[in-house]
Structures are given as C-alpha cells and as structure tokens.
Amino acid sequence: MAFGMEQGLIRNFCIIAHIDHGKSTLADRLLELTGTLSAREMGELVLDDMDLERERGITIKASAVRMTYRARDGREYELNLIDTPGHVDFTYEVSRALAACEGAVLLVDASQGIEAQTLANFFLALDQGLVIVPVVNKIDLPAAEPERVAQELCDTFGFRREEVLFVSAKEGAGVHELLEEVVRRVPPPSGRPEAPLRALVFDSKYDPYKGVVAYVRVVDGHLDTRRPLRLMATGRRLEPLEVGYFRPSPTPSQALVAGEVGYVATGLKTVGDCRVGDTITWDDTPASEPLPGYRPPKPMVFAGLYPADAEEYGSLRDALEKLKLNDAALDFEPESSLALGPGFRCGFLGLLHMDIVQERLEREFGLNLLATAPSVEYRVLTTDGQELPVRSPAELPPPTKIAEIREPWMHLSVITPDRYIGAVMELVTSRRGEFVRMEYLEHGPSVREGERRVLLEYRMPLAEMLVDFYDQLKSRTQGYASMDYSFIGYRPGRLVKLDILVNNQPVDALGLLVPADKAYQVGRALVEKLKELIPRQLFDVPIQAAIGGRVIARETIRAMRKNVLAKCYGGDVTRKKKLLEKQKEGKKRLRRIGRVEIPQDAFLALLRLQR
C-alpha cells in the first residue's frame, strides 16, 4: 500500500432513522467519543449544516465525517460516518449514501417505536446488502419502552433479541458499546486497490471557491490530484483541485484509496455536472463499467412560481439559477400565465423539496412569490398516437384530441396505532387510494387493544397526496401516524380538465385535472370558495366551473352597492383624503383577472385552494 489505511481497518457506515429519533444527536456523541470534536466545539450539531435543515428538523444533504477510533482490540480504526437525508423526497440520495457504506445503524426511538421511515430506510439498506445494527435510542426517557421496541424490531425485521443495542444518544449511555459493535459487525470494504479508479459520488455541493465539491466513496483504485478525472454518466472531464476528507472540517490529503470516503474539489460550475450516483474514473485509463444504480434526478411534483411583483422576474430567474448550482434535482423553465404574468414552471422531487425551494427563494433571496397549486406530470396519449408529458393542466391538448390520460401512482405505507385504522382507511380511499395489505408490527399479549402498531399499505395517485394529505393524516391520527411513499408507475385514469372562469374568462392558474366522478363536487366547492374570496366589484361577476365548455357549477358575486363616506367631519378634509388615499394604495396592490380586481392576499388564498 502506497498510502492510506489498510482496508481491514476501515469501517464505512451510516445512521438511518425516522425523523427526530436522534440521528444527529448520536452522530455528535460519536464525534465526541472519538475525539474528532471536543464537547466544547459542539454547540452546533455538526452534520446538519444548513439553517433551514435545523428548523425543519431534517437533513437535506448528506456529508461524511472521518473519525479515528482505538477499539478494545487495541487497533486503531478509520470510521467514516456518512450522513443520509432524512426525508422521503430524497430516497434516491439516501440510496446512494447507503451504497457508499458497508453497514448501517438503524436507530429507533424507545418511546416511539418503528415508524414509516424506519421501515423504508431499513429496506433501502437491505437492498444495498448492508449489515444492519439495530439500536434503541432515548432509553433515558421516562416514556421509554426499550423492551417493547426491541421486540418490535425483532418481530418486524427478524433481528435476534441479543443483536439489539440500547443507547441514550443524549446522555452517552451505551454509545461506546455501539462503536465496538460497529467495528465488530460491519465488514471492512473490499475494493480492488490496483484496478482503475471507480469512486461513487454520493453527494455534491457547490462551493464558491472550489466549484463543486463531490463527496465520494472510492470503490476501486485511488484518487489523487495528479490525474485528470472523468464522470462516467455525464462524460464531463475534470482536473481535481483538491482531495481530502472531513474531520469534521475539510482536511486535504494526498490521496483517497479503495475503501476510503472523502471529497474531491472538481472546479465544476454546477452540481448538475457532477450528479449524485455518478462514477468518477481516470480520464486516461477509465474503468470499463460504472458503478451500478445511477439515475438522473427526476422531478415528480410541479408548480408555477411567479414573482408577486412582475418586476422581480429577473431576480427570480437569477435566484433559481443560483439554487440550481447546488440542487441538481431542481428543474425550471419559463412559463407565462394570464393571471400571473411571466414566471417559471418548476419541477421538484416532492412536496418537501418544493417547500424548501420556495422558502429559500423567499428567505435567502428576499423574493415575494406566488405559487400555483402543485401538480404531477401526466402522460397524455393523443388520438394520433403520441404520448405527451403534461406538467400543468394548462398544457393539456383539447379534449377531442385526448385518447387517455395517465397519472403517476405511488406505493404508500402508513404506520399507526390500530385504533386509527378506520380513520386512515377513510382518508386514503376518499383520495382514490387502493388498499394493498395490513400487518401488525407487534404481537404478543403485552400490548393493549387499540395500541397495537400496524402497517397499512396502499396504492394511491400522487396527485391525491399533493394537497393537505400529510396534514390530514396527522390530524386524523392525532399525530401518531407516520408515512412513506415511493413511485410505482403510471396508470390510466378517468380524469377531466376542470376550467375555472372568472367573469367568463378561464383562469389558467386555477385550472386543474380531477377524476371525472369528483368533478362536480370539486367544481362546486371551488366556485363557492372563490365567491367568498373575491371581493365585490363594480359589476356582477359570474364564477363558473366548466368541463370542456359545459358549465357544471356557477355562482355570482353581486356588484358592490355601497362604498361611501357618509359623515362630514367638520372641515377635516385631510382626514377624508387620507382614508381615500388608503383605499387607493390598496388598489395598487391588486391583481387583475380581466376587469376583476383581487387583493394580493385573496389571490394567494385562491391559488392555494385547489381541490
């Protein structure tokens, strides 16, 4: 070995857990215990490095930290802890982070038990062939039921009781033992140091000084700054600027060898050039096959983003371009709406991804945004045999040209105490969900009726999950249910386009695709809501819901009858004028749909309505 660690002393692992089960806290404890970071330096949680993540309590981007650990066997090990994004929108990113490991710590909160993402993550790790170390966390909590949760882990995943470890990440109990078990159970990497380089990119971030920094797991060969590199999927060539690892701050090193985890500064301009899942190889003697599993990012959810003030269009475009530097999954193209003016149709991995992007645009770039209701990508088969992707109801061809509309379906798993089964069933079926199966996660007499945790699986159109589904699920189960979903494929549906007309003019931003048998109900509800939201005008305003020219629901907003200051305030004309000026100011901030004037906030509410 010219450089680096002997592979037998390397352990690459990650922690997988449902949100808030203590992943970050445990990571901190590990850093502390291995002396990678002193307790004093650890005011901040290290692995989550964006503000936004902290606030949402999730981890958007993975990263990796190298620790040195002297085990009880007296040997010094190099432990690479690879962080995984904690949300379902980032399943693919999680799978790539897992692919960089040989083992995973499956962390479960002793007071909560297995949740939907525990399950999802477990199966992802299993798919990658990782050794999984089950750990019950938060045993210090008064509400902790470690024994029960351990049993649940055995019942659900088939662990043996003696495999399960118990820790308190917060207080440190059991963490030492955990490190020992990681060293003992997780196998060392087994790459071929002499083969041509193959390094898996499991994350990448844009750095203004060094360009895109790729987080890599070197599988075969070695990586240094002397040799030009190539990305096998995108075909990009690059001259590496720096190679190193995180400890937890970036530490340059001569090289990364087979089995090691670290980073390479690529000098590339956007993360789109260096995508998660891609394989880095030598440019002069490339590997013959890339590592398996690469997939370009695929947006699933689409929405129009518009500047509230049309003059901010340019700033919005700049901001989207900046975000795109660091977010290969973000997709956008210009779009123009009658009601909203110029803006962008953006594609996101999922709802959370969409929320995050919107929030960053507003917070980091100070933009004021209007967002249309989210939509999925439909596939429309036309009568002349074409298949068109449709990301916004406004893009639909005329009804006579449509042979079939297909929509994305998801596999949905929900875990909930069994007393809420009825509530969940009702919610899911009211949204066209189909029941697949049900399984109790807990057996045995110790668990009371109504408290037994059950896994429910469904198939459901993604479109039905977009608005308010998660909130509804939470509220109907008093916060107990957790969920996870994944894409299964496209299926034809009986869908129709519902047009909303305000003052006889169709409003593109309000059009939507609905199941034919719900069209009337949805149209009725929308029209009534609009009637409440749109203030009275100087003339009667008809509000209609229509399918292909046939009106199915109608309301009329009666003309405003009175707006007059009756009183005579002595000679206080100043005051009268102030009141009028206030009204005039208000008028300036109105949005217009034809002649109909709508205050900004009502307009926003109206965009959020959709269903």
Partner: protein
C-alpha cells in the same frame, strides 16, 4: 395673511360631551366639564389672535360643533359670542348654527340661544328607537328628542336639522323606516342621514372586532339609503348632498362652504381651517387636546410674530400642523368635495377657479367613471349618478 379678502365661514369646536357615544370618533371628551370656563377664554383669545393677524374678517356663516356645544351654559355662550362679535364682522343674514343633544336643552336655554343670535339648530337625534339609542350609548330618549324639537320651535328656531343614523348592526329596514317617519312627522327643515360607520378606536370597533356585534351590512345600508331617497323626495325635501336633505331655502350654508371649497377658519381644539394660498389653498389644524389647547393660548402673550399668507401659520401657538395644497391637489379636492353635492360641479366654475378645463384635466378618470355609470356630464355640470352616489368612494379614489 391679509388680502385675498372675501367673507369666510367660521367654525367653533366645543369638545365636551356627557358620555362618549359608542360609534363616535370626533374630538370630544366626557368628564372635562371643569375646563369649560378656561376653554371658552382660550377660544376668545384665539379669536383675538386672528383679528390681530388678519384684521376683522367678514363672516358669512358661524357653526358651533362638537362635542356637544349645548352643554355650554348661557353665560359662557354669551361671553364667547361677545368676543367673536368683537373680532369678526358678521354679515347680515349670517347663518348661525348650534349642534345640540336632546336631553341637554330645555325651553329656557333654547330661548337664551335665540336671544344670543343663533338662528339654526342641529339636533343629534340619531334614532327614534330607545333600544337603539341605548345601544349607541346615547343618553336621551326618543320622547326627549321630540320634546326638544317642540321647544326649539317654541323658542323661535325657523331652521332646524335632525341628525339620524341608519344601518345599525342587525337593524331591519322597517325600524329605520319607522325612525325616519317619526322624524318627517315633526317637520324639520333639514335632515342629515348618516350610514353608521365603524371608526377605528371606538367602542363599536372593539365590539365588532370581538364579535360582540356584527359589522354594519353594506347591502342593508344601501337599501335604506335608496328607500330614504324616495321617501324624502315624496316628503318634499331636496337631496342636495350625499347625506343631506333640506326644504327649499334651508340648505346648510356652513357645510356648503366645505363642499364648495370656500375659505373657513376653525377655532377651538382640533378645529380645521382652510384659507386660499397661491393656486390652491392651505389647510391647518389646531392641537387636539383641549387641555393643551388651553395651555397653548394661555402661554401666548402678545400677538403672533408673523402669519405669512400661503403658509401653514405655525407661528400661531394653537396650530399643530397643516399642509399646502397645490393646484393639482386643489383641483382634485374641488372635485371630490363638489361631487358630493347633488348638483355636482360646474365646468364653468372649475375653469374660473383653476384656469383649466375639468374634462381635459381629468379626462382619463372621467371617461372610466362615465363608462362605469358612476358619473355623468349634463348641462355643463359633472355629477354622480344615482349609482355613483352609493359608490362615491370608488369615484373619489379615481380622482385623487
């Protein structure tokens, strides 16, 4: 500020009330009675300051508003009128109005007012339904209002106005109709009918915000106004301003001065004035608090340094602020105020005052408003249509 003569209208603000009414956001206070004497002295001093600064101005209308001016005892009233007579020149036929609340006036008092020269009385009746009066925190009954009216006639008032409010929360049309019928039965010479509005900071606003009382209903108020227009016409009253009706010869000359943008001077706490200046006018106002008003005038020894024509007379100790309204502002105010009048504004008068053509200066908005059916131009005058009357603010904001 001498020159630019011509008679003015004079307003005197009396900020005292027995109790603050639920809807009221006027500059009026309950429980300050002990300030009445010093307050009257201060107003007398203010009158003196003006005559020192501008000479003895000719006055064509005098209006005592409030608050509740009828709370001032006759001797104080006499002192005040004496001082005004000394510092201003009241033209023959001058309209002299006093606002009064039923329940605060008796026959003797009214006779005293008539003797002092008041020739017009405005009674704040508001409603002829006792439960409604209570809800508004008015201290009098319907019966007392009728009594006060009778006494006023007996005391010799030939011109009497009644103020009424319609569109109270949950008030059915019939109840308003009953109030107006009782008012018409009394045969007043003038009626002001105001739609109840919820003003910030009032008890009513609090009640509405808390959901204790529903907000007044615009549609109901519109319906009441429309009914009232018919009913008042049938009863022989001319509708001459959005909220005002009069028998022939009884229009309120003082308020017309506001709507026609003629000069006026306001004395007393929070009173507003408007005097000609350059191409437009200057408007200013006194300190609002009666106590501070009294202090300001007590502190001032001699005549004010210099009151410069065309500027806000900030050298006057009681003046709190003001603004100069330039030509553009003046033209727009002229329209906004003038369109309140049923006869609207005269294109000729506009040309005479501003040297511009109204229909050119406001071509855009006037076209839009005509298209919307809110204003019409006929016989050399621009006026609100019947629909525009109810939507006057929509008209005004477009003229701003």
């Amino acid at each position: 500020m001498k020159g630019r003569g011509g008679p003015i209208s004079l307003y005197v603000h009396i900020p005292f009330c027995e109790l603050k009414c639920a809807y009221c956001d006027f500059n009026s206070y309950a429980g300050l009675e002990e300030l009445m004497g010093p307050y009257v002295d201060a107003v007398c001093r203010e009158a003196a300051l003006w005559s020192q600064a501008m000479g003895r101005l000719a006055v064509r209308t005098l209006f005592f508003g409030g608050g509740t001016p009828s709370l001032l005892p006759i001797p104080l009233m006499e002192r005040l009128l004496g001082a005004l007579g000394k510092h201003f020149h009241f033209l023959p036929g001058c309209e002299v109005t006093l606002e009064a609340n039923p329940g605060t006036v008796g026959l003797q008092y009214l006779k005293g007012l008539a003797m002092l020269g008041f020739n017009r009385l405005s009674l704040g009746v508001q409603s002829f339904q006792d439960d409604e009066l209570q809800a508004l925190d008015r201290l009098h009954t319907a019966r007392q209002a009728e009594e006060a009216f009778g006494w006023a006639r007996e005391a010799g008032f030939r011109s009497i106005n009644l103020d009424l409010i319609y569109g109270l929360p949950e008030q059915p049309l019939e109840r308003w109709q009953a109030t107006l019928e009782r008012a018409i039965d009394l045969g007043p010479d003038h009626l002001s009918l105001y739609a109840l509005t919820v003003e910030e900071g009032t008890k009513l606003a609090y009640q509405v915000a808390r959901g204790l009382v529903p907000p007044p209903d615009d549609d109901a108020q519109a319906e009441m106004l429309e009914w009232s227009l018919e009913r008042m016409a049938a009863a022989g009253y001319e509708h001459y301003e959005i909220s005002n009706w009069a028998r022939p010869g009884h229009r309120c000359q003082h308020n017309l001065a506001y709507w026609e943008c003629r000069p006026y001077l306001g004395l007393g706490a929070g009173a507003h004035s408007c005097l000609p200046a350059g191409d437009g006018w200057v408007r200013f106002w006194n300190v609002y608090s009666p106590r501070r008003y009294i202090e300001a005038l007590a502190a001032s020894a001699g005549p004010p340094a210099d009151v410069v024509a065309g500027h806000v007379p900030l050298s006057m100790p009681q003046v709190a602020g003001g603004e100069v309204v330039d030509l553009d502002g003046a033209m727009s105010e002229f329209l906004i105020m003038g369109l309140r009048l049923s006869e609207g504004v005269s294109l000729e008068e506009f040309r005479r005052r501003f040297g511009r053509e109204l229909l050119e200066a406001f071509a855009g908005p006037v076209t839009e408003l005509s298209d919307l059916g809110l204003v019409e131009e006929r016989d050399g005058r621009l006026r609100l249509t019947r629909r525009g009357l109810l939507l006057a603010n929509e008209v005004f904001v477009r003229l701003l």
